[in-house]
Symmetry: C2
Subunit: 304 residues, 2 copies
Protein backbone atom coordinates (compact mmCIF):
# COMPACT_ATOMS: atom_id res chain seq x y z
CA UNK A 1 0.00 0.00 0.00
CA UNK A 2 1.15 3.48 -0.74
CA UNK A 3 2.29 5.68 2.20
CA UNK A 4 0.90 9.19 2.46
CA UNK A 5 0.47 11.89 5.08
CA UNK A 6 -2.73 13.14 6.65
CA UNK A 7 -3.56 16.77 7.27
CA UNK A 8 -6.22 18.43 9.42
CA UNK A 9 -6.89 22.11 8.91
CA UNK A 10 -8.72 22.79 12.17
CA UNK A 11 -10.49 26.08 11.58
CA UNK A 12 -12.92 27.91 13.80
CA UNK A 13 -15.78 27.48 11.30
CA UNK A 14 -14.70 24.46 9.23
CA UNK A 15 -12.36 21.51 9.47
CA UNK A 16 -10.69 20.28 6.29
CA UNK A 17 -9.11 16.83 6.25
CA UNK A 18 -6.94 15.50 3.46
CA UNK A 19 -4.36 12.88 2.60
CA UNK A 20 -1.55 13.38 0.16
CA UNK A 21 2.07 14.38 -0.14
CA UNK A 22 1.85 17.89 -1.60
CA UNK A 23 -0.12 20.26 -3.83
CA UNK A 24 0.15 17.99 -6.89
CA UNK A 25 -0.94 14.99 -4.92
CA UNK A 26 -4.00 15.49 -2.74
CA UNK A 27 -5.74 12.12 -2.82
CA UNK A 28 -8.83 12.84 -0.80
CA UNK A 29 -10.26 15.86 0.90
CA UNK A 30 -13.29 16.48 3.08
CA UNK A 31 -14.65 19.67 4.57
CA UNK A 32 -17.18 19.86 7.38
CA UNK A 33 -18.39 22.47 9.88
CA UNK A 34 -16.72 22.89 13.26
CA UNK A 35 -19.41 21.87 15.79
CA UNK A 36 -18.54 20.46 19.23
CA UNK A 37 -14.98 19.21 19.79
CA UNK A 38 -16.15 15.59 20.32
CA UNK A 39 -18.26 15.48 17.18
CA UNK A 40 -15.81 17.36 14.96
CA UNK A 41 -12.76 15.38 16.03
CA UNK A 42 -14.67 12.09 15.67
CA UNK A 43 -15.52 13.04 12.12
CA UNK A 44 -11.87 13.76 11.33
CA UNK A 45 -10.82 10.40 12.77
CA UNK A 46 -13.53 8.65 10.75
CA UNK A 47 -12.21 10.29 7.57
CA UNK A 48 -8.71 8.93 8.15
CA UNK A 49 -9.98 5.48 9.14
CA UNK A 50 -11.80 5.31 5.81
CA UNK A 51 -8.67 6.38 3.88
CA UNK A 52 -6.64 3.73 5.61
CA UNK A 53 -8.51 0.98 3.83
CA UNK A 54 -6.56 2.05 0.76
CA UNK A 55 -3.31 3.55 1.99
CA UNK A 56 -0.88 3.76 4.88
CA UNK A 57 -0.64 6.99 6.89
CA UNK A 58 2.92 7.83 7.89
CA UNK A 59 1.91 10.74 10.14
CA UNK A 60 -0.81 13.33 10.67
CA UNK A 61 -0.37 17.09 10.78
CA UNK A 62 -2.83 19.44 12.46
CA UNK A 63 -2.86 23.18 11.73
CA UNK A 64 -5.22 24.66 14.27
CA UNK A 65 -7.02 27.86 15.12
CA UNK A 66 -5.82 29.16 18.46
CA UNK A 67 -4.44 30.11 20.79
CA UNK A 68 -2.97 26.63 21.21
CA UNK A 69 -0.40 24.95 23.45
CA UNK A 70 2.70 24.04 21.41
CA UNK A 71 4.98 23.05 24.28
CA UNK A 72 5.67 19.30 23.90
CA UNK A 73 6.50 19.04 27.61
CA UNK A 74 3.18 20.55 28.70
CA UNK A 75 0.24 18.51 29.99
CA UNK A 76 -2.01 20.45 27.63
CA UNK A 77 0.18 20.09 24.51
CA UNK A 78 -2.03 19.98 21.44
CA UNK A 79 -4.96 21.72 23.16
CA UNK A 80 -6.78 24.88 22.15
CA UNK A 81 -6.20 27.00 25.26
CA UNK A 82 -8.49 30.02 25.53
CA UNK A 83 -10.93 30.85 22.78
CA UNK A 84 -14.26 32.66 22.76
CA UNK A 85 -15.57 29.80 20.57
CA UNK A 86 -18.09 27.89 22.77
CA UNK A 87 -16.91 24.45 23.93
CA UNK A 88 -13.42 24.73 22.48
CA UNK A 89 -11.62 26.39 25.37
CA UNK A 90 -9.37 23.64 26.75
CA UNK A 91 -10.25 21.18 23.97
CA UNK A 92 -7.61 18.53 23.19
CA UNK A 93 -7.19 18.20 19.44
CA UNK A 94 -3.87 16.42 18.92
CA UNK A 95 -4.34 13.82 21.68
CA UNK A 96 -7.49 12.01 20.49
CA UNK A 97 -6.46 12.11 16.83
CA UNK A 98 -2.99 10.72 17.54
CA UNK A 99 -4.32 7.99 19.86
CA UNK A 100 -7.14 6.91 17.54
CA UNK A 101 -4.87 6.67 14.52
CA UNK A 102 -1.70 5.46 16.23
CA UNK A 103 0.41 7.77 14.10
CA UNK A 104 2.91 10.53 14.91
CA UNK A 105 1.18 13.93 15.07
CA UNK A 106 2.61 17.32 14.09
CA UNK A 107 0.68 20.15 15.70
CA UNK A 108 1.01 23.90 15.16
CA UNK A 109 -1.01 27.05 14.57
CA UNK A 110 -2.91 27.50 11.32
CA UNK A 111 -0.63 30.37 10.29
CA UNK A 112 2.57 28.47 11.11
CA UNK A 113 1.20 25.59 9.06
CA UNK A 114 0.44 27.88 6.13
CA UNK A 115 3.93 29.40 6.44
CA UNK A 116 5.45 25.93 6.31
CA UNK A 117 3.39 25.02 3.24
CA UNK A 118 4.45 28.23 1.46
CA UNK A 119 8.08 27.41 2.27
CA UNK A 120 7.77 23.82 1.00
CA UNK A 121 5.81 24.46 -2.19
CA UNK A 122 4.84 28.09 -2.51
CA UNK A 123 5.85 31.73 -2.36
CA UNK A 124 8.64 31.32 0.21
CA UNK A 125 10.28 28.26 -1.29
CA UNK A 126 13.82 27.81 -0.05
CA UNK A 127 13.72 30.72 2.40
CA UNK A 128 14.88 30.20 5.97
CA UNK A 129 13.63 33.57 7.21
CA UNK A 130 10.22 34.87 6.25
CA UNK A 131 6.82 35.80 7.61
CA UNK A 132 3.38 34.66 6.47
CA UNK A 133 0.51 37.01 7.32
CA UNK A 134 -3.19 36.57 6.70
CA UNK A 135 -5.73 39.39 6.75
CA UNK A 136 -9.23 37.98 6.99
CA UNK A 137 -11.76 37.29 9.73
CA UNK A 138 -8.79 37.67 12.03
CA UNK A 139 -5.23 38.79 11.44
CA UNK A 140 -2.47 36.31 12.14
CA UNK A 141 1.15 35.71 11.33
CA UNK A 142 3.50 32.75 11.27
CA UNK A 143 7.25 33.13 11.11
CA UNK A 144 10.23 31.06 10.06
CA UNK A 145 13.61 32.09 11.48
CA UNK A 146 16.84 30.27 10.59
CA UNK A 147 14.74 27.54 9.01
CA UNK A 148 12.54 26.85 12.02
CA UNK A 149 9.01 27.97 12.89
CA UNK A 150 8.83 30.49 15.74
CA UNK A 151 7.05 29.30 18.89
CA UNK A 152 8.85 30.81 21.88
CA UNK A 153 6.70 31.35 24.96
CA UNK A 154 3.41 30.51 23.23
CA UNK A 155 3.36 31.42 19.55
CA UNK A 156 3.27 34.75 17.75
CA UNK A 157 0.02 36.72 17.90
CA UNK A 158 0.99 39.34 15.34
CA UNK A 159 -2.57 40.46 14.68
CA UNK A 160 -2.76 42.08 18.09
CA UNK A 161 0.13 44.49 17.68
CA UNK A 162 -0.57 48.21 18.08
CA UNK A 163 0.27 50.66 15.35
CA UNK A 164 -0.31 54.42 15.20
CA UNK A 165 -3.72 55.78 14.26
CA UNK A 166 -3.76 56.81 10.62
CA UNK A 167 -5.01 60.20 9.47
CA UNK A 168 -7.92 61.34 11.60
CA UNK A 169 -9.37 57.86 11.99
CA UNK A 170 -11.47 57.65 15.15
CA UNK A 171 -13.09 54.25 14.70
CA UNK A 172 -13.13 52.60 18.14
CA UNK A 173 -11.88 49.23 16.91
CA UNK A 174 -13.41 45.78 16.86
CA UNK A 175 -11.11 43.57 18.97
CA UNK A 176 -12.85 42.38 22.16
CA UNK A 177 -9.49 42.33 23.97
CA UNK A 178 -7.72 45.43 22.70
CA UNK A 179 -10.22 47.54 20.79
CA UNK A 180 -7.92 49.23 18.34
CA UNK A 181 -5.10 46.74 17.84
CA UNK A 182 -4.31 45.84 14.21
CA UNK A 183 -6.97 43.14 14.10
CA UNK A 184 -9.44 45.55 15.68
CA UNK A 185 -8.77 48.18 13.00
CA UNK A 186 -7.95 46.23 9.85
CA UNK A 187 -9.53 42.74 9.87
CA UNK A 188 -12.48 41.93 7.62
CA UNK A 189 -15.05 42.29 10.42
CA UNK A 190 -13.46 45.59 11.48
CA UNK A 191 -13.80 46.90 7.90
CA UNK A 192 -17.41 45.75 7.77
CA UNK A 193 -18.16 47.38 11.14
CA UNK A 194 -16.37 50.61 10.24
CA UNK A 195 -17.86 51.13 6.78
CA UNK A 196 -21.14 49.21 7.12
CA UNK A 197 -20.19 47.20 4.05
CA UNK A 198 -18.29 43.93 3.82
CA UNK A 199 -14.78 44.27 2.31
CA UNK A 200 -15.73 42.20 -0.74
CA UNK A 201 -18.51 44.71 -1.52
CA UNK A 202 -16.42 47.87 -1.09
CA UNK A 203 -15.66 49.38 -4.52
CA UNK A 204 -12.06 49.65 -5.63
CA UNK A 205 -12.07 53.45 -5.35
CA UNK A 206 -13.51 53.51 -1.83
CA UNK A 207 -11.30 55.36 0.71
CA UNK A 208 -11.41 52.21 2.83
CA UNK A 209 -8.57 50.72 0.81
CA UNK A 210 -6.15 53.57 1.30
CA UNK A 211 -6.79 53.50 5.06
CA UNK A 212 -6.48 49.72 5.14
CA UNK A 213 -3.13 49.97 3.33
CA UNK A 214 -1.97 52.59 5.85
CA UNK A 215 -2.59 50.21 8.75
CA UNK A 216 -1.19 47.13 7.03
CA UNK A 217 1.85 49.05 5.78
CA UNK A 218 2.61 50.27 9.27
CA UNK A 219 2.22 46.76 10.67
CA UNK A 220 4.45 45.13 8.05
CA UNK A 221 7.10 47.80 8.58
CA UNK A 222 7.06 46.84 12.28
CA UNK A 223 7.46 43.18 11.35
CA UNK A 224 10.43 44.10 9.14
CA UNK A 225 12.00 46.03 12.04
CA UNK A 226 11.46 43.32 14.64
CA UNK A 227 12.00 40.10 12.65
CA UNK A 228 14.02 41.17 9.60
CA UNK A 229 12.38 38.61 7.28
CA UNK A 230 13.71 37.92 3.79
CA UNK A 231 10.18 37.99 2.43
CA UNK A 232 6.61 38.63 3.57
CA UNK A 233 3.81 36.49 2.15
CA UNK A 234 0.47 38.19 2.71
CA UNK A 235 -2.89 36.59 2.00
CA UNK A 236 -6.40 36.22 3.39
CA UNK A 237 -9.84 37.35 2.26
CA UNK A 238 -9.25 41.10 2.62
CA UNK A 239 -6.23 40.90 0.29
CA UNK A 240 -8.50 39.73 -2.54
CA UNK A 241 -9.05 43.40 -3.47
CA UNK A 242 -6.41 43.71 -6.23
CA UNK A 243 -5.64 47.34 -5.47
CA UNK A 244 -4.57 46.58 -1.93
CA UNK A 245 -1.26 44.74 -2.32
CA UNK A 246 0.49 47.41 -4.45
CA UNK A 247 -0.74 50.07 -2.02
CA UNK A 248 0.58 48.11 0.98
CA UNK A 249 3.99 47.72 -0.67
CA UNK A 250 4.24 51.48 -1.13
CA UNK A 251 3.16 52.18 2.45
CA UNK A 252 5.80 49.80 3.81
CA UNK A 253 8.46 51.70 1.88
CA UNK A 254 7.02 55.00 3.14
CA UNK A 255 7.08 53.69 6.70
CA UNK A 256 10.69 52.52 6.54
CA UNK A 257 11.84 55.80 4.91
CA UNK A 258 14.91 54.17 3.40
CA UNK A 259 16.44 53.45 6.80
CA UNK A 260 17.09 49.78 6.12
CA UNK A 261 19.47 49.76 3.15
CA UNK A 262 18.51 46.54 1.41
CA UNK A 263 17.77 46.34 -2.32
CA UNK A 264 14.93 43.94 -1.50
CA UNK A 265 13.14 46.78 0.28
CA UNK A 266 14.34 49.74 -1.77
CA UNK A 267 14.22 48.37 -5.31
CA UNK A 268 12.36 45.06 -5.36
CA UNK A 269 9.48 45.47 -2.94
CA UNK A 270 7.22 43.65 -5.44
CA UNK A 271 9.29 40.51 -4.87
CA UNK A 272 9.60 41.16 -1.13
CA UNK A 273 5.90 41.44 -0.26
CA UNK A 274 4.09 38.79 -2.24
CA UNK A 275 0.76 36.95 -2.32
CA UNK A 276 0.64 33.30 -1.27
CA UNK A 277 1.09 30.77 -4.05
CA UNK A 278 -1.12 28.11 -2.51
CA UNK A 279 -4.24 30.21 -1.94
CA UNK A 280 -7.03 28.57 0.03
CA UNK A 281 -5.20 25.25 0.00
CA UNK A 282 -2.38 26.64 2.16
CA UNK A 283 -4.31 25.58 5.28
CA UNK A 284 -4.65 21.90 4.57
CA UNK A 285 -1.29 21.73 2.77
CA UNK A 286 0.24 23.29 5.87
CA UNK A 287 -1.26 20.48 7.91
CA UNK A 288 0.20 17.90 5.53
CA UNK A 289 3.60 19.62 5.71
CA UNK A 290 3.39 19.48 9.54
CA UNK A 291 2.60 15.77 9.21
CA UNK A 292 5.62 15.18 6.99
CA UNK A 293 7.84 16.97 9.49
CA UNK A 294 6.40 14.93 12.38
CA UNK A 295 6.95 11.71 10.44
CA UNK A 296 10.61 12.56 9.88
CA UNK A 297 11.15 13.42 13.55
CA UNK A 298 9.27 10.44 14.99
CA UNK A 299 11.08 7.34 16.24
CA UNK A 300 10.91 4.46 13.78
CA UNK A 301 7.80 2.33 14.32
CA UNK A 302 7.91 -1.43 14.35
CA UNK A 303 6.53 -2.97 11.17
CA UNK A 304 2.78 -3.54 11.71
Amino acid sequence: MRTLWGGVEAGGTHFVCAVGSGPEDLQAEERFPTTTPAETIARAIEFFHAQRRELDLAAIGIASFGPVDLDPSSATYGFVTSTPKPGWSGADIAGPIGRALGAPVGFDTDVNGAALAESEWGAAKGLDDFVYVTIGTGIGGGAMVNGRLVHGLVHPEMGHMRTPRQGNDEYRGYCPFHGDCLEGLASGPAMQDRWGVAPEDLPEDHPAWELEADYLGSALANIVGILSPRRIVIGGGVMQQPRLLPLVRRKVQDGLSGYIQAPELLDHIDRYIVPPALGRRAGVLGAIALGKRAGRNAPARPEG
Copy 2:
Protein backbone atom coordinates in the same frame (compact mmCIF):
# COMPACT_ATOMS: atom_id res chain seq x y z
CA MET B 1 50.61 29.69 26.56
CA ARG B 2 47.02 29.98 27.69
CA THR B 3 44.34 30.25 24.97
CA LEU B 4 41.75 33.01 25.31
CA TRP B 5 39.30 34.87 23.12
CA GLY B 6 39.40 38.48 22.01
CA GLY B 7 36.45 40.83 21.96
CA VAL B 8 35.90 44.21 20.30
CA GLU B 9 32.93 46.27 21.35
CA ALA B 10 32.81 48.64 18.39
CA GLY B 11 30.66 51.51 19.57
CA GLY B 12 29.86 54.76 17.83
CA THR B 13 31.66 56.81 20.48
CA HIS B 14 34.11 54.30 22.03
CA PHE B 15 35.75 51.01 21.20
CA VAL B 16 36.41 48.56 24.03
CA CYS B 17 38.85 45.71 23.46
CA ALA B 18 39.37 42.82 25.85
CA VAL B 19 40.70 39.30 26.12
CA GLY B 20 39.23 36.63 28.34
CA SER B 21 36.80 33.76 28.47
CA GLY B 22 33.88 35.23 30.40
CA PRO B 23 32.80 37.69 33.10
CA GLU B 24 34.97 36.08 35.80
CA ASP B 25 37.97 36.07 33.54
CA LEU B 26 38.64 39.34 31.73
CA GLN B 27 42.42 39.49 31.48
CA ALA B 28 42.93 42.86 29.86
CA GLU B 29 40.67 45.62 28.72
CA GLU B 30 41.23 48.89 26.90
CA ARG B 31 38.81 51.64 25.98
CA PHE B 32 39.47 54.38 23.44
CA PRO B 33 37.44 56.89 21.43
CA THR B 34 36.04 56.01 18.00
CA THR B 35 37.90 58.36 15.61
CA THR B 36 38.50 57.45 11.94
CA PRO B 37 38.05 53.82 10.91
CA ALA B 38 41.74 53.44 10.00
CA GLU B 39 43.04 54.86 13.27
CA THR B 40 40.49 53.13 15.50
CA ILE B 41 40.87 49.71 13.92
CA ALA B 42 44.68 50.00 13.99
CA ARG B 43 44.51 50.69 17.70
CA ALA B 44 42.36 47.60 18.25
CA ILE B 45 44.82 45.46 16.30
CA GLU B 46 47.72 46.88 18.28
CA PHE B 47 45.97 45.95 21.55
CA PHE B 48 45.63 42.32 20.48
CA HIS B 49 49.19 42.15 19.14
CA ALA B 50 50.43 43.26 22.57
CA GLN B 51 48.27 40.63 24.35
CA ARG B 52 49.63 37.93 22.11
CA ARG B 53 53.03 38.23 23.64
CA GLU B 54 51.51 36.49 26.65
CA LEU B 55 48.65 34.37 25.37
CA ASP B 56 47.19 32.67 22.33
CA LEU B 57 44.01 34.08 20.77
CA ALA B 58 41.63 31.36 19.59
CA ALA B 59 39.28 33.78 17.86
CA ILE B 60 38.06 37.38 17.92
CA GLY B 61 34.49 38.58 18.27
CA ILE B 62 33.29 41.98 17.15
CA ALA B 63 30.00 43.47 18.38
CA SER B 64 29.47 46.55 16.27
CA PHE B 65 27.27 49.60 16.01
CA GLY B 66 25.31 49.51 12.79
CA PRO B 67 23.64 48.97 10.50
CA VAL B 68 26.12 46.27 9.49
CA ASP B 69 26.36 43.58 6.84
CA LEU B 70 26.02 40.14 8.45
CA ASP B 71 25.69 38.06 5.30
CA PRO B 72 28.79 35.84 5.10
CA SER B 73 28.35 35.48 1.33
CA SER B 74 28.32 39.25 0.75
CA ALA B 75 31.30 41.23 -0.57
CA THR B 76 30.73 43.72 2.24
CA TYR B 77 30.37 41.18 5.07
CA GLY B 78 31.69 42.71 8.27
CA PHE B 79 31.23 46.29 7.08
CA VAL B 80 29.25 49.10 8.66
CA THR B 81 26.82 49.88 5.83
CA SER B 82 25.06 53.23 6.17
CA THR B 83 25.59 55.40 9.21
CA PRO B 84 25.36 59.13 9.77
CA LYS B 85 28.72 58.83 11.61
CA PRO B 86 31.29 60.61 9.41
CA GLY B 87 33.79 58.29 7.71
CA TRP B 88 32.19 55.06 8.88
CA SER B 89 29.67 54.51 6.10
CA GLY B 90 31.05 51.54 4.17
CA ALA B 91 33.89 50.93 6.65
CA ASP B 92 35.22 47.37 6.84
CA ILE B 93 35.67 46.33 10.47
CA ALA B 94 35.89 42.53 10.43
CA GLY B 95 38.21 42.25 7.41
CA PRO B 96 41.27 44.18 8.61
CA ILE B 97 41.06 42.79 12.15
CA GLY B 98 40.78 39.19 10.94
CA ARG B 99 43.59 39.58 8.42
CA ALA B 100 45.97 41.33 10.81
CA LEU B 101 45.46 38.79 13.56
CA GLY B 102 45.04 35.67 11.42
CA ALA B 103 42.25 34.45 13.67
CA PRO B 104 38.62 33.47 13.04
CA VAL B 105 36.30 36.44 13.49
CA GLY B 106 32.73 36.43 14.77
CA PHE B 107 30.86 39.57 13.75
CA ASP B 108 27.41 40.75 14.75
CA THR B 109 25.48 43.80 15.93
CA ASP B 110 26.17 45.26 19.36
CA VAL B 111 22.70 44.24 20.58
CA ASN B 112 22.96 40.69 19.23
CA GLY B 113 26.34 40.45 20.98
CA ALA B 114 24.85 41.68 24.25
CA ALA B 115 21.96 39.23 23.86
CA LEU B 116 24.44 36.40 23.38
CA ALA B 117 26.41 37.46 26.47
CA GLU B 118 23.23 37.59 28.57
CA SER B 119 22.35 34.11 27.35
CA GLU B 120 25.81 32.73 28.15
CA TRP B 121 26.35 34.33 31.53
CA GLY B 122 23.51 36.68 32.41
CA ALA B 123 19.80 37.26 32.69
CA ALA B 124 18.76 34.95 29.85
CA LYS B 125 20.96 31.99 30.77
CA GLY B 126 19.74 28.79 29.17
CA LEU B 127 16.94 30.42 27.17
CA ASP B 128 16.61 29.65 23.48
CA ASP B 129 14.00 32.34 22.81
CA PHE B 130 14.37 35.80 24.23
CA VAL B 131 14.87 39.43 23.32
CA TYR B 132 17.47 41.91 24.58
CA VAL B 133 16.50 45.57 24.31
CA THR B 134 18.53 48.64 25.16
CA ILE B 135 17.07 52.10 25.72
CA GLY B 136 19.81 54.70 25.59
CA THR B 137 21.27 57.05 23.00
CA GLY B 138 19.46 54.84 20.52
CA ILE B 139 16.99 52.03 20.96
CA GLY B 140 17.98 48.61 19.69
CA GLY B 141 17.06 45.00 20.12
CA GLY B 142 18.72 41.65 19.58
CA ALA B 143 16.79 38.40 19.46
CA MET B 144 17.47 34.72 19.98
CA VAL B 145 14.99 32.31 18.40
CA ASN B 146 15.31 28.55 18.77
CA GLY B 147 18.82 29.08 20.14
CA ARG B 148 20.13 31.17 17.25
CA LEU B 149 20.52 34.93 16.85
CA VAL B 150 18.10 36.52 14.40
CA HIS B 151 19.64 38.06 11.28
CA GLY B 152 17.27 37.45 8.38
CA LEU B 153 17.44 40.03 5.60
CA VAL B 154 19.75 42.41 7.47
CA HIS B 155 19.25 42.34 11.24
CA PRO B 156 16.45 43.55 13.47
CA GLU B 157 16.05 47.31 13.86
CA MET B 158 13.51 47.17 16.65
CA GLY B 159 14.06 50.76 17.76
CA HIS B 160 12.39 52.05 14.63
CA MET B 161 9.01 50.39 15.11
CA ARG B 162 5.94 52.62 15.27
CA THR B 163 3.60 52.51 18.23
CA PRO B 164 0.47 54.57 18.94
CA ARG B 165 0.79 58.07 20.35
CA GLN B 166 0.20 58.06 24.08
CA GLY B 167 -2.24 60.42 25.78
CA ASN B 168 -2.20 63.79 24.10
CA ASP B 169 1.51 63.72 23.35
CA GLU B 170 2.31 65.95 20.39
CA TYR B 171 6.12 65.94 20.48
CA ARG B 172 7.32 65.72 16.87
CA GLY B 173 9.95 63.06 17.53
CA TYR B 174 13.71 62.99 17.23
CA CYS B 175 14.54 60.31 14.67
CA PRO B 176 16.08 61.81 11.51
CA PHE B 177 14.53 59.00 9.43
CA HIS B 178 11.11 58.51 10.94
CA GLY B 179 10.43 61.37 13.33
CA ASP B 180 8.11 59.68 15.78
CA CYS B 181 9.21 56.05 15.70
CA LEU B 182 10.00 54.48 19.09
CA GLU B 183 13.59 55.76 19.07
CA GLY B 184 12.31 59.17 18.04
CA LEU B 185 9.91 59.29 20.98
CA ALA B 186 11.59 57.34 23.76
CA SER B 187 15.39 57.31 23.40
CA GLY B 188 17.57 59.33 25.77
CA PRO B 189 18.10 62.20 23.27
CA ALA B 190 14.34 62.25 22.55
CA MET B 191 13.63 62.64 26.27
CA GLN B 192 16.22 65.39 26.55
CA ASP B 193 14.77 67.19 23.52
CA ARG B 194 11.18 66.78 24.70
CA TRP B 195 11.65 67.89 28.31
CA GLY B 196 14.74 70.07 27.98
CA VAL B 197 16.42 67.97 30.67
CA ALA B 198 18.59 64.87 30.29
CA PRO B 199 16.91 61.67 31.54
CA GLU B 200 19.44 61.26 34.34
CA ASP B 201 18.43 64.68 35.69
CA LEU B 202 14.66 64.18 35.51
CA PRO B 203 13.26 63.66 39.03
CA GLU B 204 11.58 60.39 39.86
CA ASP B 205 8.13 61.99 40.10
CA HIS B 206 8.38 63.79 36.75
CA PRO B 207 5.55 62.91 34.30
CA ALA B 208 8.28 61.99 31.79
CA TRP B 209 8.59 58.54 33.35
CA GLU B 210 4.93 57.61 33.06
CA LEU B 211 4.95 58.66 29.39
CA GLU B 212 8.23 56.82 28.77
CA ALA B 213 6.72 53.68 30.29
CA ASP B 214 3.65 54.06 28.08
CA TYR B 215 5.81 54.01 24.94
CA LEU B 216 8.12 51.24 26.09
CA GLY B 217 5.21 49.13 27.33
CA SER B 218 3.49 49.44 23.98
CA ALA B 219 6.70 48.52 22.15
CA LEU B 220 7.44 45.49 24.33
CA ALA B 221 3.85 44.28 23.94
CA ASN B 222 4.41 44.40 20.17
CA ILE B 223 7.62 42.42 20.56
CA VAL B 224 5.71 39.82 22.62
CA GLY B 225 3.07 39.60 19.89
CA ILE B 226 5.51 39.31 17.00
CA LEU B 227 8.35 37.24 18.49
CA SER B 228 6.78 35.45 21.47
CA PRO B 229 9.99 35.55 23.52
CA ARG B 230 10.34 33.59 26.78
CA ARG B 231 11.91 36.61 28.44
CA ILE B 232 12.77 40.25 27.70
CA VAL B 233 16.01 41.69 29.05
CA ILE B 234 15.84 45.48 29.01
CA GLY B 235 18.79 47.74 29.77
CA GLY B 236 20.48 50.94 28.66
CA GLY B 237 21.03 54.35 30.22
CA VAL B 238 17.38 55.42 30.31
CA MET B 239 16.47 52.31 32.34
CA GLN B 240 18.75 53.50 35.18
CA GLN B 241 15.74 55.37 36.63
CA PRO B 242 14.57 52.75 39.17
CA ARG B 243 10.90 53.67 38.86
CA LEU B 244 10.83 52.87 35.16
CA LEU B 245 11.12 49.07 35.02
CA PRO B 246 8.14 48.31 37.32
CA LEU B 247 6.07 50.86 35.37
CA VAL B 248 7.01 49.26 32.05
CA ARG B 249 6.05 45.80 33.33
CA ARG B 250 2.59 47.05 34.28
CA LYS B 251 2.11 48.80 30.93
CA VAL B 252 3.02 45.62 29.03
CA GLN B 253 0.33 43.76 30.97
CA ASP B 254 -2.13 46.59 30.30
CA GLY B 255 -1.28 46.47 26.59
CA LEU B 256 -1.74 42.72 26.28
CA SER B 257 -5.05 42.82 28.23
CA GLY B 258 -4.78 39.18 29.24
CA TYR B 259 -5.06 37.98 25.66
CA ILE B 260 -1.98 35.78 25.79
CA GLN B 261 -2.73 33.23 28.51
CA ALA B 262 0.73 32.53 29.87
CA PRO B 263 1.55 32.61 33.59
CA GLU B 264 4.86 34.28 32.70
CA LEU B 265 2.90 37.31 31.48
CA LEU B 266 -0.10 37.18 33.80
CA ASP B 267 1.51 36.23 37.12
CA HIS B 268 5.29 36.53 36.90
CA ILE B 269 5.93 39.62 34.81
CA ASP B 270 8.74 40.58 37.22
CA ARG B 271 10.64 37.49 36.06
CA TYR B 272 9.60 37.99 32.42
CA ILE B 273 10.85 41.53 31.92
CA VAL B 274 14.18 41.81 33.68
CA PRO B 275 17.28 44.03 33.80
CA PRO B 276 20.52 42.76 32.26
CA ALA B 277 22.86 40.93 34.64
CA LEU B 278 26.07 42.04 32.94
CA GLY B 279 25.44 45.79 32.92
CA ARG B 280 27.95 47.86 31.00
CA ARG B 281 30.15 44.84 30.42
CA ALA B 282 27.49 43.16 28.23
CA GLY B 283 29.01 44.89 25.18
CA VAL B 284 32.54 43.57 25.42
CA LEU B 285 31.42 40.24 26.88
CA GLY B 286 29.07 39.93 23.91
CA ALA B 287 32.08 40.39 21.64
CA ILE B 288 33.97 37.67 23.51
CA ALA B 289 30.94 35.37 23.27
CA LEU B 290 30.84 36.01 19.51
CA GLY B 291 34.55 35.12 19.39
CA LYS B 292 33.97 31.86 21.24
CA ARG B 293 31.19 30.95 18.83
CA ALA B 294 33.38 31.81 15.82
CA GLY B 295 36.20 29.70 17.24
CA ARG B 296 33.91 26.69 17.59
CA ASN B 297 32.59 27.07 14.06
CA ALA B 298 35.94 27.71 12.38
CA PRO B 299 37.87 24.96 10.61
CA ALA B 300 40.76 23.59 12.66
CA ARG B 301 43.95 25.60 12.11
CA PRO B 302 47.30 23.97 11.54
CA GLU B 303 49.54 24.13 14.59
CA GLY B 304 51.60 27.33 14.32
